[in-house]
């Protein structure tokens, strides 16, 4: 750390010179290609975006219900439902669907997040008719055969076990569970060893019927296509999807954690401790979201961030350290995360807390803000480069009510972030005294030393079924 000030000074003087040109070029560069929005008679919102370059079409259906809509003790239901869409329809068996899809080189995947389910497909422009027909077949006419449900449930259960063999795959699940408890955002999106055993086909059918409706979905299509032809196909394909009231309930916001508590997950063979530290973050539509993005870029959102500089570059404690706001309908988690060998667990966590403390104490300089602003702008365009990325972007901005301005006004909003705004954002959105800690590591080696971080300490083995809260506690709810 002793070198940091010298390096910062040297680099910033260089930057001021180089910087005069950069923003000018980038100024009008970030924008969404023009696109149309149609609402079909059944209430389905359709977004169409032409993107030339390669003859591919990407289709995304965003269903406005995700893991947060799972009933208590049925964690994983949204995920299982989405996995079963392609496993049997009114006209195709699972095998037939796979054969037809694979023959055209098409893809079909579903992502379940706490807020929504995103079903994605991609295929060649020449196969548009076939691709759309397959996509709508799975989305509109799944039959959820019992035998396929049994298979998917059993596979998902083993999937949870496989994930527990890779600590970094499950750290976030434990963290969300420990932060949110029994609130909707605390649930494991893919379920756990116990909840998956409880899910029945009837519950899947019910989840589908309640949530997969045109008035609870957004369809986004991007790529190379003939707009007139596609519009006609859409009416034919999705126009008959029957609309009915959805039972999807609003997600109630959780309260931030008070005080300090620590969950230690014992993995006796670990030679490295994986840790996450944080608290409640922000909502996707938070008015401060762009300023938060600028500040977090400096704090833990890029290679030269304060966290990575301290924990990797200066000390060599880790291969990587960072921080992340997972912004959702209502405030999601904010977490700092990294990993380090067992012996340096405490020095690494101390240093991460020190970096957080310094952020509050010192705020940010104009030079740091300028660097982060240039970085976000310079890196943004490749994130909306492909048909698939564009379809997802416009579907999400529609879902969160952000609109095209989210992209088209990004540069202006970034430019508006001042050191004063940054200071306010740090105080308001970056936790300081109230923190939740989750560690996966070799408990016998690290337990005595990590007690100092929190008055309350909880412990489980990674081999114990479920994540957090422990099954006995959640069963009483």
């Amino acid at each position: 750390m002793s070198q940091a000030p010298r390096l910062l000074a040297a680099v910033f003087s260089f930057l001021l010179a180089a910087f005069l040109v950069a923003p000018l070029v980038a100024a009008q560069s970030i924008h969404l290609p023009p696109h149309e929005k149609i609402v079909l008679k059944n209430g389905l919102t359709v977004l169409l975006l032409q993107k030339r370059g390669v003859p591919l079409v990407a289709v995304s259906a965003l269903v406005k219900s995700g893991a947060a809509a799972d009933p208590a003790s049925q964690e994983g239901l949204a995920s299982i439902t989405s996995s079963l869409l392609r496993k049997g329809t009114k006209t195709r068996s699972a095998q037939q669907f796979a054969a037809d899809l694979d023959f055209i080189g098409g893809s079909f995947e579903a992502d379940v997040t706490p807020d929504y389910t995103l079903i994605r497909s991609e295929f060649l422009t020449k196969d548009l008719a076939k691709g759309l027909e397959l996509f709508s077949d799975a989305l509109l006419r799944p039959t959820f055969p019992q035998a396929e449900a049994n298979k998917v449930l059993a596979q998902s259960l083993d999937g949870v076990k496989a994930a527990k063999d890779e600590p970094r795959a499950v750290l976030g699940i434990y963290f969300n569970g420990y932060l949110f408890g029994n609130a909707p955002y605390g649930r494991p999106s893919d379920g756990d060893e116990l909840s998956l055993k409880r899910i029945q086909r009837d519950a899947v059918l019910k989840f589908y019927e309640s949530n997969y409706t045109p008035n609870n979905a957004v369809l986004a299509i991007a790529g190379e296509f003939d707009s007139a032809e596609l519009r006609k196909r859409l009416e034919d394909t999705f126009g008959s999807w029957p609309s009915h009231p959805t039972t999807a309930a609003a997600i109630s916001p959780a309260a931030p954690a008070k005080g300090k508590r620590l969950l230690l997950i014992d993995k006796p063979d670990a030679t490295q401790t994986y840790f996450a530290i944080g608290n409640l973050g922000t909502a996707a539509n938070d008015p401060d979201r762009v300023a938060i993005r600028v500040v977090n870029t400096i704090f833990g959102g890029r290679f030269t961030s304060e966290l990575n500089e301290a924990l990797r570059v200066e000390s060599g404690y880790t291969y990587g350290a960072g921080s992340f706001f997972d912004s959702r309908k209502v405030p999601g988690p904010f977490e700092i995360s990294s990993f380090t060998k067992n012996e340096t667990t405490v020095p690494a966590i101390d240093l991460a807390l020190q970096v957080l403390d310094n952020l509050h104490k010192n705020g940010l300089t104009p030079g740091q803000l300028d660097s982060a602003k240039a970085y976000i702008k310079g890196q943004y365009s490749p994130s909306i480069e492909t048909a698939g990325q564009l379809a997802r972007r416009i579907a999400l901005d529609e879902f969160y009510g952000l609109g095209d301005e989210e992209v088209n006004q990004l540069e202006a909003r970034i430019d508006a972030v001042t050191p004063e705004i940054a200071r306010r954002v740090i105080e308001k959105h970056f936790p300081m005294d109230n923190l939740v800690f989750v560690l996966i590591g070799k408990a016998s080696e690290i337990r005595p030393a990590v007690k100092k971080y929190a008055g309350q300490m909880d412990e489980r083995s990674i081999n114990d079924p479920g994540f957090w809260p422990p099954p006995s506690a959640s069963a009483t709810k």
Binding site: Q3, L7, A10, V11, F14, L15, A18, F19, A22, V25, S29, V54, A94, A98, L101, D102, F103, I104, G105, G106, L124, K151, D158, A162, K164, D165, L171, G172, P268, D269, T271, Q272, G301, R302, F303, T304, E309, E314, S315, G316, Y317, T318, Y319, G320, A321, G322, F324, S337, F339, S371, A374, Y375, K377, G378, Q379, S381, P382, E385, T386, N463
Partner: protein, 448 residues
């Protein structure tokens, strides 16, 4: 949802490669590449694309862990990290700060064969990137303090990707057993005891050996013109003197004479099975038939292996195959994760039966056509980003010897027949040619 910056992607990242079948619109005129060889021997390939105001710049060095020797394994990868830790003009830490402040980001990866540096940036940062690349190729410095801390970073990377990853451990053991003579036997990240013992002299020797301009290929894709790139090259890169490239790797792996089996015992909830078969290097003509074979066996839920192991017999959670581009004869690796309470040997048996079926019965016309369609979609997916294009064009140029092969792949895949698939199945997928690695869950011992 987590962000961890990698500077090297040893195990993943390369799956992108070498599976493509251009057809009608996938011709070179749709993705025009202009090339130029500098006086110091570095070849530069430029492919303009103005759809976004950004640029992807790759520099491929033909040096990797195959150029190492026992005692300094992992040095190429460690060196890759050191290429970000200070040169004459941009001192320790300054390279990253200068790039990010100008909207640029970077990364790099090391494989058994190559070390590849990547920059992604708005075109306004073009001059800066050339200044940085030239600085570190010409005047890299070695700060003992940085060497010490970076050694710890790489050790952490090894713990992350190997020691605390069951797949990582088993993959390392498989390569170590499948090769007894050739340098592909040691891991790219290096053995931990070697990571702890590299010296400053080892680093200097590696730089002198591998980082000559005539041992590198640059690929630039994005919002640029070939003329301006060649001008920057002339100004920044061409003056860098050339020297001898690394000595050729002459060791040939002797033919395998019988099946090799190994077991790893490790705490785990599920076992893992990996089967490796020796296959030729990337520029061998069987490349195309092998990719068609792999597509028929592994691509999509209608593939033979998925249908058999995952769906019908429900033996495995997942089954897939992987081949990395290679200068020397290498491995195709089949990986399956057996389901809870399934004996890994049951997976093994099913895999062999499916391979044997390919040897005895020709694949169907439909399967062949499906495989070719899949390769076409893969091609377009690689070509739809400036980043994917830079990596793919560079990989064909470096491993096939000519980037045109990327655009000839259509023809080459169309030429693959059912007989070819059957022939390569018989030639490479025999029991004597395989190494079988199994990870068996070990019960946790009660800890004191």
């Amino acid at each position: 949802m987590k962000r961890v910056w990698s500077r090297s992607a040893i195990l993943a990242a390369l799956c992108v490669l070498l599976c493509s079948v251009p057809a009608s619109r996938a011709q070179s005129q749709d993705f025009p590449v202009t090339t130029h060889t500098l006086k110091n021997g570095m070849k530069v390939l430029v492919q303009p694309d103005h759809s976004i105001p950004n640029v992807a710049l790759y520099v491929f060095y033909r040096i990797g862990s195959r150029n190492e020797r026992p005692g300094t394994t992992g040095l190429s990868h460690f060196f890759e990290h050191m290429m970000f830790n200070g040169a004459k003009k941009y001192g320790p830490g300054e390279l990253d700060k200068a790039e990010e402040a100008n909207g640029a980001s970077n990364n790099a990866y090391t494989t058994r064969d190559v070390t590849v540096y990547q920059d992604w940036f708005p075109r306004s940062a073009l001059k800066l990137i050339f200044d940085i690349e030239a600085d570190r190729i010409r005047d890299l410095t070695f700060d003992p303090k940085k060497i010490a801390s970076e050694r710890e970073v790489v050790a952490s990377e090894r713990r992350l990707s190997v020691d605390n990853s069951n797949f990582g451990v088993l993959d390392e053991q498989l390569w170590a057993n499948a090769f007894i003579a050739h340098p592909y036997q040691w891991p790219v990240v290096g053995w931990m005891s070697d990571i702890e013992h590299w010296t400053m002299d080892d680093l200097k020797h590696h730089f002198a050996m591998g980082y000559s301009p005539n041992n590198a290929t640059m690929v630039v894709v994005g919002d640029v013109s070939p003329e301006e790139i060649f001008q920057f090259c002339e100004q920044y890169i061409e003056p860098i003197p050339t020297h001898e490239p690394p000595p050729p790797v002459t060791t040939l792996e002797p033919g395998q004479l019988g099946e090799r089996k190994l077991i790893v015992h490790k705490p785990a909830q599920l076992p893992i099975l990996m089967v490796g078969y020796h296959i030729p290097q990337t520029n061998n003509p069987d490349f195309y038939a092998l990719n068609i074979l792999r597509t028929i066996l592994f691509q999509g839920e209608s593939s033979r292996m998925y249908q058999r192991l995952v769906d019908k017999d429900q033996l495995a959670l997942d089954v897939q195959s992987e081949v990395d581009p290679a200068f020397d004869p290498t491995l195709v690796i089949i990986t399956a994760q057996p389901r809870q309470d399934v004996d890994p040997q049951a997976c093994e048996k099913a895999i062999y039966e499916e391979l044997d079926r390919l040897k005895t019965t020709p694949v169907t016309d439909q399967e062949l056509e499906k495989a070719k369609n899949n390769r076409l979609v893969e091609f377009y997916k690689q070509m739809q980003t400036i980043n994917g294009r830079a990596n793919t064009i560079g990989t064909y140029e470096v491993f096939m010897g000519d980037y045109h092969k990327l655009f000839d792949a259509a023809k080459n895949y169309s030429a693959v027949t059912k007989d070819d698939v059957q022939r390569v199945a018989k030639q490479y997928f025999g029991p004597n040619n395989r190494t079988v690695a199994t990870l068996l869950p070990e019960q946790e011992k009660a800890k004191p």
